[in-house]
């Protein structure tokens, strides 16, 4: 395969360090990915040579910063194949994107007696905003059940859809199980009832090509920091037909057209939703990450990741007493597991001491853990800079845990 992982690892300065004397094995990519030097340099260069507020000044720096900022928007919109870059709103990340829709779409389009459909495997950030909205509006939260493998019950989803459904909000890839949901099928079925669909794309977009026009989703939410970009920046893609009708979510500078004390009219898209000075350095870093991914070719990184994922799944399954939680047919990059009766916290504490970063706990998906009746899991999540040798280190570490606790 034309994919030199050792060369790629050199692009990520953080990966070469040692933790407790062991080479760092970073397998917490579902929580946040590491950043290539090009992203770090872009941010540093922005602050050293370009920093200025955007969309305001007529001076040179401001115009250059505005141009770079708006070019980034076009590039990122193009990356997900949005029809129009006005449909790409910068937010602080997936959580804010979902909250924006819950506020602005929710206020406008959800009324008493409506229902909002989510699934059992949602992250808290795709549960709580809808819960709050439902309480406010006296609407109902309707939850699609999942099977033992961690796949949604599509038939049950169909039964939940009706003329009172205001929105379907569902994750592309489960952060706790790795399940890839059949979102195209979900979107098509929801649209046959004229119901819009929001996709939580936080765990999807770094692993495979996302084409919002082909998917025909109404909203797609994602974070830069989970796709090799900086923290604190992300995006909301939304169809113009909804965004135009939605009211602003934050008010302030930038989002206005004309302000008098009697009446304010709002700016056009996308600025209507971007009150205040934006995170310009973040956007440029985000853009650098997108360009980096494009250059690597997402087809190639996907192919490498799926081979690594297969290798890791087999290697972990061979460990006696290890139980993988979530065995969906369509699954990527994330392996959640338990080792015998060992508490995930105990296992995680020891695995950490071997220089391996994994996540333990409920992964911000408590209802999902309740569904499986477990306190949490140990989660290893992989991206294209991880190696088979790192999987082997994880296996060794797990065997050490077994020896210590059993």
């Amino acid at each position: 395969m034309n994919f030199d992982v050792n060369k790629i690892r050199k692009d990520f300065p953080i990966l070469s360090q040692k933790i407790y004397g062991n080479p760092l094995v970073y397998l917490d990519n579902a929580a946040s990915t590491q950043k290539p030097a090009i992203v770090i340099d872009t941010i540093s260069k922005y602050y050293s040579g370009q920093n200025s507020n955007v969309h305001r000044g007529v001076h040179y720096l401001s115009m250059m910063a505005t141009e770079a900022f708006e070019n980034a928007r076009k590039n990122i919109a193009d990356f997900i194949n949005a029809e129009n870059s006005n449909e790409l709103i910068f937010t602080s990340g997936t959580t804010e994107s979902i909250n924006l829709v819950a506020h602005s779409f929710g206020r406008k389009f959800i009324s008493e007696g409506d229902n909002i459909i989510i699934s059992t495997m949602e992250h808290h950030s795709n549960i709580v905003p809808w819960q709050i909205l439902c309480e406010e509006k006296n609407a109902k939260l309707s939850v699609i059940p999942i099977n033992e493998e961690g796949e949604i019950d599509f038939e049950a989803f169909g039964k939940r859809l009706n003329e009172k459904t205001g929105l379907v909000a569902i994750t592309h890839v489960s952060n706790a199980l790795g399940t890839v949901n059949p979102i195209k099928k979900i979107i098509d079925l929801a649209h046959s009832f004229d119901v819009p669909v929001l996709i939580d794309g936080a765990q999807g977009i770094s692993h495979f090509k996302v084409d919002v026009s082909e998917l025909d989703c109404d909203f797609y939410c994602f974070s830069a920091h989970k796709m090799f970009g900086p923290m604190g920046i992300g995006a909301l893609y939304g169809k113009e037909k909804y965004l135009e009708k939605m009211l602003p979510y934050k008010a302030g500078g930038e989002m206005i057209e004309k302000v008098t004390f009697e009446k304010t009219t709002f700016n056009k898209l996308p600025f209507k939703f971007e009150a205040g000075t934006p995170n310009v350095a973040g956007v440029l870093g985000f853009n650098a990450a997108i360009n980096y991914l494009k250059e690597l070719s997402i087809e190639k990184t996907s192919a490498y990741e799926s081979e690594l994922f297969k290798y890791a799944t087999i290697a972990l399954q061979e460990i006696e007493g290890l139980r993988i939680i979530g065995t969906a047919k369509e699954k990527i990059s994330i392996i959640s597991f338990l080792i015998g009766d060992i508490h995930p916290f105990d296992a995680g504490t020891i695995i950490d001491k071997t220089g391996i970063a994994v996540r333990t706990g409920h992964h911000c998906a408590e209802p999902l853990m309740d569904r499986f009746q477990i306190p949490g899991t140990i989660r290893a999540s992989f991206v294209f800079y991880n190696t088979k040798e790192e999987v082997d280190s994880l296996v060794k570490s797990i065997i050490m845990v077994k020896n210590m606790f059993e």
Binding site: F345, D346, T349, K353, P375, F405
Partner: protein, 143 residues
């Protein structure tokens, strides 16, 4: 009965025998396994300490001017840490518990467990134990 400071030095001495983290954690695991059992009637949601990745139940009673603690957890390392805390705090006078500085934790190299981000509850456990001591002290003064 040994004073809190004396028990702390005893624990520091025990941990001095270990050269590496593995021995230290193996010992903590042993301590976890040998933690005296909490009465089942006290292993209730009301006695759960919040803010822990693992569940921790803590019960306190007051006998002859001393606070008696019993506790349990579903994670062994947490139980090991609890065992240390109970050795130090149980059967001590409220004032001694309230004023204890617990320097031994960093001396035995477990300060990482004090970080709030570890969310294993060591910090909440200590807070809760001191709070019980304060409650008993106040109750006694008011009697």
């Amino acid at each position: 009965m040994m004073k809190i400071k004396e028990i702390e030095s005893q624990i520091v001495e025990e941990f001095d025998n270990f050269d590496d983290w593995m021995d230290k954690y193996t010992y903590l695991i042993e301590m976890g396994k040998s933690l005296p059992l909490i009465e089942n009637e006290f292993k209730i949601d009301n006695n759960l300490i919040s803010g822990c990745q693992s569940k921790v139940w803590l019960h306190a009673s007051y006998e002859n001017g001393k606070v008696i603690f019993t506790a349990d957890s579903d994670a062994i390392i947490t139980k090991g840490i609890i065992n240390l805390l109970i050795r130090i705090f149980s059967n001590q006078a409220p004032d001694d518990i309230i004023n204890a500085d617990l320097n031994f934790i960093s001396e035995i190299g477990l300060q990482e467990h004090l970080s709030p981000t570890r969310s294993n509850g060591l910090l909440s456990m200590i807070k809760q134990m001191k709070l019980y001591a304060l409650v008993f002290k106040t109750k006694m003064q008011n009697q």
